[in-house]
Amino acid sequence: MKVRVHITLKPGVLDPQGAAVRRSLDSLGFDGIEKVRQGKVIELDLKEADVLKATAQVEKMCEKLLANTVIENYLVEIL
């Protein structure tokens, strides 16, 4: 089973990289950008075929390693 994990900064945590990307887009002439937030995507191939079990397994991975829950949120997407 293929699983995609989306990791994003929690609301309120400053994102200097997102701000720099936004400035760069501004300078390229892209108007009307209110805000840019940068995150990361991690894709996993699992042996597990059961959706509920796979989700639980990946959520555990997020809590233990993939995300730093002090500053980041995560979202598990089954593909």
């Binding site: 945590v13 400053l14 200097p16 990289q17 720099a20 233990k64 390693l65 993939l66 730093n68 002090v70 500053i71």
Partner: protein
């Protein structure tokens, strides 16, 4: 003093740290170097240092993979039993990632890697690491990091402030750290994490000795207690 330095792939301040610890130790007790794949620690250690560097290439997040390596279970146990742990730079990142210290270290606010000498204010002398300084003293210590921007929620910041757990603050905040925080203590005040490098300024030949008193504080605390 029986000291140990943990080495990860990508650590690069490990030997500097060992030299700084040796300098304040008895001659016959050399600092031991411990590879991250070890699962246990030598008996009778007084202090463990987690050095600076770029463990595991800073992949995923700085210090994240190092914090889950086999030796860190033993380091966390050691700290929870009241052992002394010092984390500098990448070592501070490893300590926050392992949960021994609160908060997180994010990318510097100007996105640049900063390598220079900066001034720090000693915010508390009531710790095993800062007792040889004077309260409010300004000291020179080098920084060299890309991700030193200390971040924590307001509740954590309040606790750190109210419990006198902020060890050092920047005079001119170089990286965007909340509340100008450069180093913090654990609840039992025996774990210190800091971004600046005291081990890099502990000999006149290196341009200053302000870092040395941190190591002297440790030996004084250990052996006068």
């Amino acid at each position: 003093m029986r000291a140990a330095v943990i080495q990860f792939p990508g650590s690069n301040c490990d030997r500097d740290m060992a030299v700084a610890l040796d300098k304040v130790s008895d001659n016959n007790k050399q600092t031991q170097m411990i590879w991250h794949k070890e699962s246990g620690l030598p008996h009778g250690l007084d202090i463990i240092a987690i050095p600076g560097g770029f463990s595991f290439g800073d992949y995923l997040r700085c210090g994240a993979i190092a914090a889950r390596s086999p030796i860190m279970n033993a380091v966390v146990d050691f700290a929870k039993k009241g052992g002394y742990v010092l984390g500098v730079c990448n070592g501070f990142q490893v300590l926050t990632e392992s949960g021994l210290l609160p908060g997180a270290l994010m990318r510097n606010s100007d996105l640049k890697f900063i390598c220079k000498n900066i001034k720090l204010r000693v915010e508390t002398t009531s710790s095993y690491f800062t007792s040889a300084y004077t309260n409010g003293e300004i000291i020179n210590v080098p920084i060299a990091h890309h991700d030193g921007n200390y971040n924590a929620d307001q509740k954590t910041l309040d606790i750190l402030n109210n419990d006198d757990r902020i060890a050092f603050r920047y005079i001119n905040n170089p990286n965007g750290s909340m509340d100008d925080i450069a180093g913090i203590l654990s609840e039992n005040r025996r774990v210190l994490g800091m971004m600046p490098h005291p081990e890099r300024l502990n000999d006149p030949l290196l341009g200053g000795i302000d870092g040395n008193r941190l190591f002297e504080s440790i030996t004084t605390s250990l052996f006068s207690a």
